[in-house]
């Protein structure tokens, strides 16, 4: 049996007195795509951010490739190198060009030479159809283009895992497709991904496993056709019903 890529074991997290994650356990195997769904405030983004320690969990263990995320073996930046994250609002640095945005971490954090980092940067941009925008500034790009750059930025260090936090939620509907196409491409290449999403159609099509979070716990976790087709829990059914009524499934 292979080591899971991400192993979340009874993780609990409080914000002050508020319990946001309650003994959550979840396993993501190598090359697997796991989608986290659930209402706002269910803890899915927090869970995602615990994996690369943007949020520090209070109890339990999270292991990346068998090593606890807070283990000193990762050094100061090893965890960030191996787990890239993409945010809902892109969070590109507005004062830097696209190329500077994506080469910042390789150059300043991982000591890659400028020429080498930029060569790889251009290669990644070209792959995502952004080759012509290397010297553009983020505000000159559409939301979809910005998000493609943000994905490129997260991939620059060749991470083992990609964490996606509602990456299409801020996009105009007609721009969602171009971003999801990239994620499909990454799945085909075998990238391990943990995806927080409201795009149920996408989750159904792309995920190997879907976890439904409610009130800080994983209420139900299953293959997408089973979870969407015949959910076992009443709350899951109610959530999916609301999604169907809003026309997003």
């Amino acid at each position: 049996m292979t080591t899971p890529m991400i192993e979340i074991d009874t993780v609990t997290k409080y914000f002050g007195d508020k319990l946001v994650l309650d003994r959550v356990s979840l396993t993501v195997n190598p090359h697997e795509v796991v989608c986290l769904i659930g209402a706002s405030g269910s803890g899915k983004s927090t869970l995602l951010r615990c994996v690369n320690r943007l949020v520090e969990h209070d109890y339990g263990t999270i292991r990346l490739d068998g090593v606890a995320v807070e283990d000193t073996a990762f050094g100061k930046t090893g965890l960030q190198k191996r787990a890239g994250i993409v945010f809902q609002s892109y969070n590109l640095f507005p004062h830097m060009t696209v190329l500077d945005n994506i080469t910042l971490a390789p150059r300043r954090v991982h000591g890659v030479a400028r020429a080498e980092a930029e060569a790889r940067g251009r290669e990644v941009l070209t792959r995502f159809g952004m080759g012509d925008f290397a010297v553009s500034y983020p505000e000159q790009l559409s939301g979809g283009q910005q998000q493609r750059v943000a994905i490129a930025r997260a991939l620059m260090t060749r991470p083992d895992v990609l964490l996606l936090d509602e990456i299409t939620a801020a996009l105009d509907p007609e721009l969602v497709g171009e971003v999801l196409a990239i994620i499909r491409g990454l799945k085909d290449e075998g990238m391990t991904m943990m995806i927080v999403t409201h795009e149920m159609g996408f989750a159904r099509e792309c995920a190997d496993k879907v976890a439904f979070l409610d009130g800080g716990t994983i209420l139900e976790e299953d293959a997408p056709e089973r979870l969407f087709g015949s959910p076992r829990k009443a709350r899951t059914r109610a959530f999916l019903q609301r999604i169907v009524e809003s026309g997003r499934l």
């Binding site: 943007l54 945010f87 969070n91 640095f93 004062h95 991982h110």
Partner: protein, 294 residues
């Protein structure tokens, strides 16, 4: 409603023929603009004319004119006041450069969150409270007269130097707070992005936060720059021969105050353009923000 309803006929016909042509470009209409401009000019002339007539027809006007607006005295005092003003400008630029750098150091120390930085953060907080809470004039007197009197070995003894130091220390406490507000205004997502890329706290500040923060605070800083331009004149109280001091010296020997008006004119010549520049930068900054938001 019937098909030949006139209200519907128009749009339908347009739809068949394609969109209407673009409206004729609006040329500047001199005749339309002339009337308001003329009214404005006339009212300005009337109001200001009336005011100046009231002032100059006052019984005391000749005396006021002699004391404050004496052309001969102005011409006589001009060279030395101008020489003093040159000192003002030099001090202004030097002090400004020192303030911008020192305040940045203070702001950075205050915004670093590492726990072992706590004593330094506390020192900065105390520093800012202290120097913001004391009048600049008092600090200038204290430093400009007090420290040279100590005859400290190895340190400069000039009042100009220590007075300038007082200005830097005082103004830096305001500017540090401006920088800090700019740092705080950078969206939290930028920190999250930097952290997720593995940047250290210092690198996050250096590459992600500060460039944005500094751009944000340019308008606020411009106001400080203009205020400082005038406040440099405070150094005249410790004997620095700046424009105000030179004018005072002339006044003391002639009992004519026209030299101070000359100094005032020179200050206006410098501060009004700076204030306009500050307005312009503020407006441009607001437009940029609106664009990004839209």
């Amino acid at each position: 409603m019937t098909d030949d309803n006139p209200a519907q006929a128009g749009p339908q016909r347009n739809a068949r023929r394609g969109p209407p042509p673009p409206p004729p470009s609006r040329r500047f209409d001199w005749r339309a603009a002339a009337a308001p401009a003329a009214i404005g000019a006339v009212s300005v002339v009337v109001v200001f004319g009336a005011l100046s007539w009231i002032v100059t027809s006052a019984e005391q006007w000749p005396r006021i004119k002699l004391q404050f607006f004496n052309i001969d005295a102005m011409v006589a005092a001009f060279p030395r006041v101008l020489r003093g003003f040159w000192v003002n400008m030099q001090v202004w630029l030097t002090v400004l450069a020192c303030i911008l750098v020192w305040a940045l150091v203070l702001a950075i120390v205050r915004s670093l969150r590492a726990p072992w930085f706590a004593p330094f953060r506390l020192m900065v907080v105390i520093y800012i409270d202290l120097f913001r809470g004391v009048p600049v004039l008092l600090l200038v007197l204290l430093f400009g007269f007090g420290i040279p009197a100590l005859n400290l070995p190895g340190l400069p003894n000039s009042g100009l130097f220590w007075g300038s130091v007082a200005m830097v220390l005082s103004y830096a406490s305001y500017v540090a707070e401006i920088y800090r507000s700019g740092i705080d205004a950078v969206h939290e997502g930028q920190r999250a992005a930097a952290k997720s890329l593995g940047l250290s706290e210092w690198q996050t500040l250096r590459y992600a936060i500060l460039p944005q923060a500094l751009r944000n605070v340019v308008p606020a800083l411009m106001n400080i720059v203009v205020a400082l331009q005038k406040d440099v004149a405070l150094l005249s109280v410790i004997g620095v021969r700046d424009a105000v001091r030179e004018a005072q010296i002339y006044t003391a020997s002639t009992f004519n105050y026209s030299s101070l008006i000359v100094a005032a004119g020179l200050f206006l010549l410098a501060t009004v353009p700076m204030a306009r520049l500050a307005d312009y930068l503020t407006r441009r900054d607001r437009e940029r923000r609106l664009q990004v938001a839209g």
